[in-house]
């Protein structure tokens, strides 16, 4: 589904990603872990099409298409969803209004009829239950004055509404208490299927107790330096990242 080959990206001339290779197949959950500043969020942003990052080398194929050639909106319409680490507050735009615009543009791109107000509302009700989000929250301005947990739940709610093929969760666990973590994870798990894939970007293993990964990759200095299964995450939780840093840095100096 997703094939990342030798991806290099930089911001304002500073290289952040230095040769990422990753294959994600339908039905899989991949966790990207790594110490702060390793490039985890950059990878998520580059995949979603954030303009500040300049891709200097490499390619990304998503369902056979050149992902990097697409605008952010077309990536979303093709089925890529980024759950933001810091969801943006947009005063004056209600979640409902914004999502209906988004969903209908996505549907139009996919050759589907737009949803009328009634159908949209019933779809919303169905997906709201998934992340236990209150309708009152959705009629308010997008994320304005939402708590950290509410913002993250809203991200997963939007994901449920847009029904993506590939979901990228960027530090979705940050700022969540244990209850919110459970709710958000449940939502993600219910949305998983044999035809979709999930990339979970996280610093801590905690989230992976709830969203169990098939593969765990450790990102350090802009490269994937270690890949394994969920046991790798447990090992990292226990031993921290230092042993990996040492391993990588010593090989680098050799």
């Amino acid at each position: 589904m997703l094939s990342i080959k030798n991806l290099h990206a930089s911001i304002e001339g500073t290289p952040i990603l230095r040769g990422i290779n990753l294959e994600v197949k339908a039905g899989e959950v991949h966790a990207i872990m790594g110490p702060n500043g390793s490039g985890k969020s950059t990878l998520a942003s580059v995949l979603a099409g954030r303009e500040e990052y300049e891709v200097t080398e490499g390619e990304v194929l998503f369902q056979g298409k050149e992902l990097l050639a697409l605008s952010p909106e077309d990536r979303a319409r093709e089925g890529v969803f980024l759950a933001f680490q810091y969801p943006i507050e947009i005063p004056g735009v209600s979640t409902t209004n914004f999502l209906r615009t988004a969903l209908n543009q996505v549907r139009e791109y996919r050759g589907q009829e737009p949803l009328d107000a009634v159908k949209f509302l019933s779809l919303m009700k169905e997906k709201m239950a998934l992340v236990e989000i209150d309708q009152k929250l959705l009629s308010r301005s997008l994320n304005e004055g939402f708590s950290g947990g509410e913002k993250k739940r809203n991200e997963i709610f939007q994901m449920a509404m847009l029904n993506p093929v590939l979901s990228i969760l960027d530090e979705t666990d940050s700022g969540l208490d244990i209850d919110a973590l459970r709710i958000v994870s449940n939502g993600v798990n219910k949305l998983k299927s044999d035809t979709t894939a999930t990339i979970v970007v996280t610093h801590y293993q905690r989230l992976l107790d709830y969203i169990v990964p098939d593969f765990v990759h450790v990102l350090y200095k802009g490269r994937i330096v270690k890949s394994g299964t969920k046991e790798l995450a447990l090992e990292l939780e226990e031993k921290g990242y230092d042993w990996i840093k040492e391993e990588v840095d010593s090989t680098a100096t050799v």
Binding site: E51, A76, I88, G92, V93, A102, S141
Partner: protein, 422 residues
Amino acid sequence: MSTLTQQELVLGLFEAAPATFLSLRQLGKESFYAQGMPALKSEEYKFTPIAKKLESCLTDFSPAKPVKISADQVKSAVFAGFEGVVLVFSNGQYLPELSNSTEGLTVNLLSKTENTPLGSIAKADKDPFTALNQATFTDGLHVSIDNKKVIESPILLLQFHQARGGQVISPRIWIEAGDFSKATFIDYQVSLDDAPYFVNKVVEIKGGVHANITYHSLQEESNQVIEVSNVVTDIQQDSQFTSTQITLSGDMVRNNLTLNLLGSNSVGNMYGLYLLKGKTHVDNHTNVDHTIPHAESNELYKGILADQSRGVFNGKIFVRQIAQKTNAFQQNNNILLSDDAIINTKPQLEIWADDVKCSHGCTVGQLDEEALFYLQARGIDKITARGLLLYAFAGEVLDKIEEDSLRNYIVNQIQKRLGSNF
């Protein structure tokens, strides 16, 4: 390009003034000559070279005669869903045959009313264009609302404008709202074609005690229009006055809004929105005078400027020494959509009392790129996303308009622009 000098420009206007209100006109004329046209360096008109504009754009500085207006034209200009009183004007002259009224509302030509203290609220010596209007207006309208009369439906002042070769239109309106009365006015100016003209408008509003007056103004004239508008209101005890000033087009527009808070427990609200493109130049000067203790003023003006448009905001809050316990808030926010758009914004607070709450702030920025990306990342194309964000920005002012038909009309007009090329 006119070859007339500024002095010569106005001579024709003075000569054509009707033989009514003779002493008032004489005072206006003297006051105009005492002040003169605002010079380029004049502090009050610093960023708005109005005299130069008039000189270069107007060829025929004579009063524009009323043009014929049909009932159909009125019908098509009135906002969908509007239910209320319509007072129709053609080049400033009131047309009773096309207008209607309601109980508790009395309208009369100024020339048919006696003892209207014109110039007592909008004082000629405060502004040269007020003086010019006072000296040269043809006729105008006296609008009054009975004591204790609550008029729920809005009163539309529908002003059709059309002139040749840059003639002058000088609307003059006197509004008197009785004690405990309530009324909402919508001042809507429409161009009948694209020919240039100059509107020099003066509206005086005299509020009674415990009155609640709303004055909406929508400027949507052709991009050839030069306009100076002076709206001045006296607000008495326990009263509320709310103004919304929406400007969507024009060549050079200057709006002077003055609120005199004369009684305690009075509230003055000033809201404004300007959406400018092309070379439109809009200057909003507001002035609120807190003359007594325990009064409140709220001000929010927002602007979106594209292309080579230019905006000016000057918000003066004057708190006199005895006006303790004043609450005065002012905010001006702007989004510039191009490198060539300019905004000059200036809060001007003069506070002589020592127990007051006053705040002001202004911002000038671009569209929030982070927010734009967020919307795009959900599948919304860039132009629609931009429209959503700009609309949300403007919405804060539009939400202040309680009259649905007007708000819906403006929303519609704005969305047409925000969705495409602004």
